[in-house]
């Protein structure tokens, strides 16, 4: 087996004792594996590391848009290695790369998965998904072996404005609803940075009667 990231031969290590231990097949070498840092406990609402309690951003969100997003769960730090990884996977379009994280991401997901939730991807514009060849959040849902429910669609203009992060949520919503649901929804995406994207999606779902929205993202 060769490492999916650096293509070096992988040597299965039986003595590995953390939660990475004994995956079915070693798709990553030890070096690449050690570059992904699992998130340490932090903000209970958004998984930001190093917080003792609800972080400032989440406090702000709760004051201005109470209960809009119940909770975000993330798995790994979005460190430099992760940035390169995402760039190669998403922008260069090296689709199979995501399998590098499968074992750990699936485990994390099943620990918090509540079957009442239906799983929804963050949509890409048709143009973008044609360019890239795939939608990143659908790829993650596929990796998790879940069924995607397309509840939203992109509006035409997709360019994220260069406004400040707080201005963005109040600016035009990039999504529109194509189906309303009465069940709680879990949105799936690759990265949680400011949390604006998932909250845009959540606001449409909640307006249409969805009782609760959470999000699951690989990187934070």
């Amino acid at each position: 087996m060769r490492c999916l990231i650096c293509h070096e031969e992988t040597i299965p290590k039986i003595t590995w004792t953390n939660f990475w231990s004994l995956p079915e097949k070693e798709v990553l070498c030890i070096v690449c594996r050690s570059m992904f840092q699992p998130l340490k406990p932090g903000c209970p609402l958004c998984f930001r590391e190093g917080e003792k309690g609800v972080c400032e951003d989440c406090q702000w969100w709760e004051q201005t848009h109470p209960g809009l997003l119940a909770k975000n769960t993330s798995v790994f730090q979005y460190n430099e290695f992760a940035k390169d990884f995402v760039a190669r996977w998403k922008y260069r379009g090296d689709y199979i790369l995501l399998e590098a994280l499968q074992w750990h991401v699936v485990e994390h997901f099943s620990r918090m998965r509540n079957s009442d939730y239906i799983i929804a991807p963050i949509p890409l514009s048709e143009e973008r998904s044609y360019e890239r060849g795939f939608n990143q959040s659908e790829a993650i849902i596929d990796l998790l072996n879940q069924r995607p429910h397309s509840l939203l669609e992109r509006r035409n203009s997709e360019k994220q404005s260069k406004k400040g992060r707080y201005a963005r949520i109040t600016s035009n919503n990039p999504f529109k609803l194509i189906q309303s649901v009465r069940q709680p929804v879990m949105l799936v995406d690759d990265i949680y940075t400011t949390g604006t994207t998932v909250r845009h999606a959540a606001s449409l779902l909640k307006q249409a009667g969805c009782p609760a929205v959470t999000s699951f993202t690989i990187f934070r």
Binding site: R2, H7, R88, R92, G93, D94, Y95, I96, S129, Y130, E131, R132, G133, F134, N135, D142
Partner: protein, 471 residues
Amino acid sequence: MLQTLRTYFSDDFDWLPDLVTPHYYPQLAGKLLLHYEIPLDEPHLISALSQNVLIKVSGLEHHFWGFRCRRCGNKEQHLFAEIPHAACGKDCVYCRCCIQMGRVTECEPLYFGSPNVAWPRFENPCAWKGELTFSQQTAADEIRNVIQLGKGEKLIWAVCGAGKTEMLFPGLTEAFSSGKRVCLATPRTDVVRELLPRLKAAFPNVEIEALYGDSPNKQGAAQFLIATTHQLLRFAHAFDVMIIDEIDAFPFHQDPALHYASKRAAKIDSSLIYLTATPRKAQHKRIRNKTLPVVFIPKRFHGHPLPVPKLKLTPSLFHHLKRGKIPPSLLEKIKQQQQSNRQLLIFMPSVKQADQIAEYLRKWKMIVESVHAEDPKRADKVMAFRKKHYPILVTTTILERGVTFPSVDVYVVDAGHSVFDEAALVQIAGRAGRSPDDPYGEVIFFHTGKTNPLLDARESIMKMNRLGEKL
């Protein structure tokens, strides 16, 4: 079946159509591009296709025993994967090997542009007024002959500081006066950056373009391209003259995709010139078998011998390096060196150590910079050192070749480390004594025990000097 087997196992490029449509799109000439890379709008693209200026070829070959990527030559099946492809609605195979240059898939073609553009002919293109030494002239004549002949290979094996670039001028003059297209490729971006101004000054009227990962211009439309070898992945049968500088350098010497691409980028009838100061095994073998004609230049252009490295046993090296320090004897040596007029170039095995030692020397009130491959200020720091703005530069193997400083001493710390192979050590030693005003730099390898590369590097430098003396 036999035919496909044959083309699969050789790099014949039979799949490239014999395309000679004359046209006026230099930005398409000899290109092999993905759809989104084509610098034309949709109507122009359609007309270029209908006029046979561009032809579609499939990007992947699908044989029952496996795939091959035609852009990078990849045949390693573990470097192919499937994607549920939105563009074709199927599970589609793509090449992972060359994905940094955009994705080649099963369903999307590559676009091959006819190389047949009439490039200008120049009467006296060369503005360089310098004179070649006797050995430079010998090599220059051989290069010009290969270019005049229009086909054949030649390896120029010239010591560091032999003045390789100038040896190319007569051959380049010949090429541009007969309207040929030329590519000078090198594995190192630093070398592209260093060569561009020199070649522009020598050939002021010829259109010259530099192409590398983040070069400002990406057209690749000039008659004379100076490019990193990676850029050749976007060319096919484009060049009449292909010069590859530093063929033994990383990543070219060990990346089959770059060998494949550079072979394909040259026309079927083309002159191939390779330059190196430190040939690798593969070239030595071809030299011995007499399948690769070689010109050997063991003498520097200023006529002085290469500085022979001194080996200095430093037993407490690891003890100090581990603590981010250097042994007192080495520190003393550096202090002494700083009394002279030369600058000091220190090579360390790793980026971390380079930074630590720079920091340590600063504690002793020395003015020091460190530079490494990913350093955003790399080009500026190197330039400032060349202009003698500060006395000590600590670096890693990235500065082992291509860059020249007029008057330096060179120390390699922990020279027995595996990152310093024979070629690297010869190149590093070759940084010293480059200028006729100061042809003797001191080169010291500090080590904890002699290794083969250390001894081999010193031996090969002494051998060059012996051969050089006979000239």
